[in-house]
């Protein structure tokens, strides 16, 4: 396995008094793509929000490149090279498309500037036609391209995509998947949550399945594809 980029150990996370994550262990190697799977309400988004420090875990540790980031604010975790595309997209509707991208621009942890404004424009040509539009005026697919583009502007080592294709027309979703595939093939590590299990297990190296806030399965995604009974049991397909 490649160097461990991100590691969560024994995470217990609560929303108020409800106990969502029950001791989750999770790790991502450098450049690796991990599918985070599970039915609705099993704790996928909570795990991601704990990883980002948005909902800090009550117990357990978060390590980025071996450094303990458990009690660090979200922006410090993000500055260590982790970018987050949240469910529901999180664009800034009061900023133009160009501003949404420019405000996030920074070199990566190792100083790399591979992702520039121009490269994002080349990757998402549809955005280049709408630079002066407000973020709120875009279609769902364009908004998704904007959040992915904005995350790439931070030159991340790890990109977390939560339901990136949800609610999109099939052709638009296909376009997003092609871009996700390219990102997975690059040196950027990814954690992907998506309802399209076929596409997901195909792009990901590894799969982790959450059931009721616990890791019920982890293994290579090729192996999971070959075990339809496991998929049926945990994902209800």
């Amino acid at each position: 396995m490649a160097d461990t980029l991100f590691e969560a150990k024994e995470l217990h996370t609560y929303y108020g008094s409800s106990h969502i994550l029950h001791g989750v262990d999770f790790h991502v190697g450098a450049g690796e793509s991990v599918a985070l799977m599970g039915r609705n309400g099993m704790g996928k988004t909570t795990l991601i929000r704990s990883m980002m420090g948005i909902v800090p875990p009550r117990h357990g540790r978060i390590l980025v490149r071996g450094d303990d980031m458990s009690r660090q604010p979200t922006y410090r975790i993000a500055q260590r090279g982790i970018a987050y595309v949240p469910e529901g997209r999180g664009i800034f509707p009061n900023l133009t498309v160009r501003e949404n991208l420019m405000m996030a621009a920074r070199p990566g942890v190792d100083g790399n500037c591979e992702w520039t404004f121009d490269r994002v424009m080349a990757t998402f040509p549809r955005l280049s036609e709408r630079l002066a539009n407000g973020g709120g005026q875009l279609s769902g697919g364009e908004q998704q391209m904007l959040t992915i583009g904005r995350a790439l502007m931070t030159n991340p080592s790890l990109l977390i995509l939560d339901e990136a294709t949800e609610g999109l027309a099939p052709l638009v979703a296909l376009e997003i998947w092609m871009i996700v595939r390219d990102i997975c093939a690059s040196n950027i590590a990814t954690v992907i949550v998506d309802k399209n299990y076929a596409a997901l297990t195909e792009v990901a190296d590894r799969a982790v399945v959450l059931v009721k806030g616990r890791v019920a399965y982890h293994g290579s995604s090729a192996e999971l594809r070959g075990r339809p009974e496991t998929i049926r049991q945990y994902l209800g397909l």
């Binding site: 922006y75 993000a78 009061n94 949404n100 420019m102 920074r106």
Partner: protein, 288 residues
Amino acid sequence: MDIFSFLVQTLNAVQYGLLLFLVASGLTLVFGIMGIINLAHGSFYMAGAYLAFGLTSATGSLLWAIVLGIPLAMLFGAALEALLFVHLYKREHLDQVLLTYGLILIFEEMRSILVGDDVHGVPMPAFLEGSIPLDDTLSYPIYRLAISAVCIVLAIGLYLLIQRTRLGMMIRAGSHDRDMVQALGINIKLIYRVVFALGVAMAALAGMLAAPISSVAPNMGGQVLILSFVVVVVGGIGSVWGALIGALLIGFADTFGKVILPEFAGVMVYLVMAAVLLWRPAGLLGKG
């Protein structure tokens, strides 16, 4: 009213409105971005005027007082945010009003202890003392023109800061979704601190600029606070450009109200506010 007195009143209205804008823009920014109702904002105006008085006495020049006073006001604002206001972001408006009203009382008492309750004056810089003659009897003081010029430069600077810089983009983004801004690796708390300190400095600068043309007196923050809230509400809460339009409107209503309808001068500003709110309940540039 002949053309020259009309001109004089117009210039007065613009100057008064622009000065109100300096105070109100900080109030509306802090509300729009951090969601804080700050009743103590008028105290920063008063603090600026007293700072001008103290520093002009010490250095001999209002210009030096301003040069020294602005960084002092920013430091004071940043410290106040770090010690007190940082605890208000997740609290209700009632808590905010209680704390900031308490601050008004503390600031007034501190002023009384430190400087006393006398009324003071501040001399204007010598090179701005003259007047520009308009006709045989009327002339217009250069100092008031200078105030307007400084305020216009600051309004343009604020526009460029908010609309054209990355800091401005982060400020605007933070008013919409602070978690997302943080997830992009941006320290939103630092941005809040900068915005708050900027608001304090602008209100204090307004007080420093106004010191030579109005007396430096106890409770001078109160009247400015009320008018600033009127400006913020008229312009649309949270909108800086609304505050600019609102401030000019209130400047004109107040100045011309005193000339044209002196018996209604006290209520003119509020009549304008009521009329605007009947027409646009969220204020001129308010949303919703």
